[in-house]
Symmetry: C2
Subunit: 413 residues, 2 copies
């Protein structure tokens, strides 16, 4: 029904081949097979080429592999396993690895970005102007860039660099569990603005300098919509129903929403909440206190979204969807931010010391997000409206003690 | 300001002296001291009299107590400790225990019910017609009575038997942690209907037979409001602001709402969700799966409230308040229902067997609520609209396996 009149099918490329990218390829390739009217059978995965040896414990190891180096893309294409980033999971044979990012994406109408944060800009720069002008993207990388001047969603960074529409996927999702087909849920936000189907294909790409930070309240997608190219009518429409068919599996339940900003913010701000929950748990205050901090944290996430993305953010994205409440729960049960914050309190050390000893000096996502968000809130004069986020920042800075959290977040009414 | 013109003060009685009742007396008595314009200094606690011996390990033990029996009310009044139900916690000296329930309540304008479920009817029958006609009650007992014909909130059962208005308090609250002044939150629902201040004081009390189950959609409080007696104007008004002052402490943060049905339903339905989370965790499916089941469960709680208490239930009571999301989180982290359900799956036993071996045959609250809710949903022809609640019932009955949960709760759209 949805494909009535459609002659073409969507070609899908997964941009990224780490733990999460390879898992995404697996489930999207399974769905391509089940929906042959919507999607081309081959699902391409762009692989950052590496030479790897196959561990002897691997199921795909053969005696002649001993000491041999293999290209990771060849192993995926011949043995259907990413031995380095998703070992012991067999990939469907319609996942085809391609180490050339431009070639992997050039004819695809759907691009799924699953790259580490720091590679997104560089890869988008390589792709700009070399993809189909009506392609659509979904960003599966969590996090947002928060600076003093504003907030940039990953999806917007991708969309603006490539001049295409980009949605977002986020949820309580641990890649290795999904790869093993353990049940979980996710949230996909997809809501392209009305587009002018007569608009000419853009020549060239926006340069980096045109990608500005989004200022509070500004609704960039609608401002850009006239430049975006509509999907030709011989493709199946990318309705919520069809986008859901790309991701939904019996073990991976998808809920579609329209709130890209809410989904993106959830994935970033939950890490601040996880630090707060870790602090409180480290004090030995029990599950009541931890649940209270999580609840207050979810409501500050809502307030943040409403304050800075009033046009589009829905409360329910945070309070009812997998990317919100469920991801907060998972992150506060055993996530890295939670565990390190708890450890810091229990050992009487600073988070910075824990980062040094436990993470080889790598900064926790929650720590950097807490600093970025605080710096932004300061410029807005709004620290007081986000007492939990502000308390986490001040604990990290040594200005206040975790024991003060209840007092600091007590509503003054 | 709130007490302008008020000459009287509210006398408060705690009806109940178990773990939670004694904790409630402590915090209410602390607040009475801090708000001498609103509340009388003496806070009465009705104590079901027992003879107890003081353990030698107790802080209040003296050598002459060896082998001696003491009345529990006398120990509370002289040594300021409930050695049996809240050992090692010093109660404020303005908590006064009274073993006569009628005498304890007769002059009180605020009655706080903290009784085990099964004692509420009997105690209300003793009190009916012997309390101040304008008294207000708050019910801190969790749970609702769900029968095939309808749902009765505890607060409504109390209110109808005593012919007074009764609100509700519920949250992620473990009494012993609150007694130790560990931080937690709670939700208080309080929303008396407009009352006719000229209505005569009711003579006598409604008999048990007038207390019907509430049928879906029926709004009993408004039907009864004309019978309720307004608070005389020489008392401080019982506004949200003043009710909050009765419960809110630096370690016990109160949020006031108006949704009595939502607060009451949360406290009951969360136990079904905790069983589901325990089943999934017992399968070793990880935190993603557990968080997904919790999220789906919260939304079924909302749907249940909206279906049967459409007049008054707010989504946010479940998704944003301590009684909702926070209590679900706490119950699914370490509550008894969660632990027993998990244990059942891990050991390959039925919940009934676990109840026998671990709880001396006592039934879990989640189990009985799951059966009651299912029986009610069947009479409404609405099992299909609550797939998680229905799945839990069917797992308890052995009709389906926990592994089928994802399939059973998958939205059919």
């Amino acid at each position: 029904m949805a494909t009535l009149g459609a002659q073409k099918k969507h070609k899908v490329t997964i941009v990224g081949s780490g733990n999460w990218g390879t898992t995404m390829s697996k489930l999207v390739a399974e769905n391509a097979k089940e929906n042959p009217n919507l999607f081309e059978q081959t699902v391409t995965m762009w692989v950052f080429e590496e030479e790897v040896t196959i561990p002897e414990s691997s199921r795909v190891y053969k005696p002649e592999d001993k000491g041999e180096k293999h290209k990771i893309s060849e192993l995926i294409n011949t043995r259907h396993e990413n031995v380095k980033y998703l070992p012991n999971i067999t990939l469907p044979d319609n996942v085809v690895a391609n180490p050339d990012v431009v070639d992997a994406c050039k004819n695809s109408s759907i691009l799924i970005f699953v790259l580490p944060h720091q590679f997104i800009q560089r890869v988008c720069d390589q792709l700009a102007g070399k993809i189909m002008p009506w392609a659509r993207a979904i960003c599966c990388t969590k996090g947002v860039d928060v600076g003093e001047k504003g907030i940039r969603l990953m999806s917007e960074a991708i969309g603006m660099r490539l001049n295409i529409y980009c949605g977002a996927l986020s949820g309580a999702n641990i890649a290795s569990e999904i790869a093993q087909e353990k049940y979980s849920e996710t949230t996909v936000a997809y809501d392209p603005p009305p587009m002018d189907s007569r608009a000419p294909t853009p020549k060239g790409s926006p340069t980096s300098s045109t990608v500005d930070l989004i200022s509070p309240g500004k609704s960039v997608p609608s401002a850009r919509s006239a430049q975006l190219k509509a999907l030709p009518s011989d493709y199946p429409p990318l309705s919520h129903e069809n986008v859901k068919k790309l991701f939904h599996r019996p073990y991976f339940h998808v809920r579609m929403v329209s709130d890209v900003a809410g989904v993106s913010l959830s994935g970033a701000l939950k890490n601040i909440v996880a630090l707060a929950a870790g602090f409180v748990d480290g004090l030995g205050w029990g599950d009541n206190a931890k649940a209270a901090v999580m609840r207050v944290g979810i409501l500050e996430m809502v307030r943040f979204g409403k304050a800075f993305f009033a046009d589009s953010v829905h409360t329910s994205t945070f309070t009812e969807e997998s990317c919100g409440v469920a991801d907060v729960v998972t992150s506060c049960m055993g996530g890295r931010n939670f565990r390190c914050a708890k450890m810091a309190i229990e050992r009487g050390k600073s988070i910075a010391e824990i980062e040094k000893t436990e993470l080889n000096g790598q900064m926790l996502q929650g720590t950097s997000t807490a600093y970025e968000v605080n710096s932004f809130l300061k410029t807005q004069g709004m620290e007081g409206e986000f007492p939990l986020f502000t308390a986490v920042y001040n604990i990290l800075e040594g200005n206040v003690k975790p024991e003060q959290i209840p007092d600091l977040i007590e509503p003054k009414d």
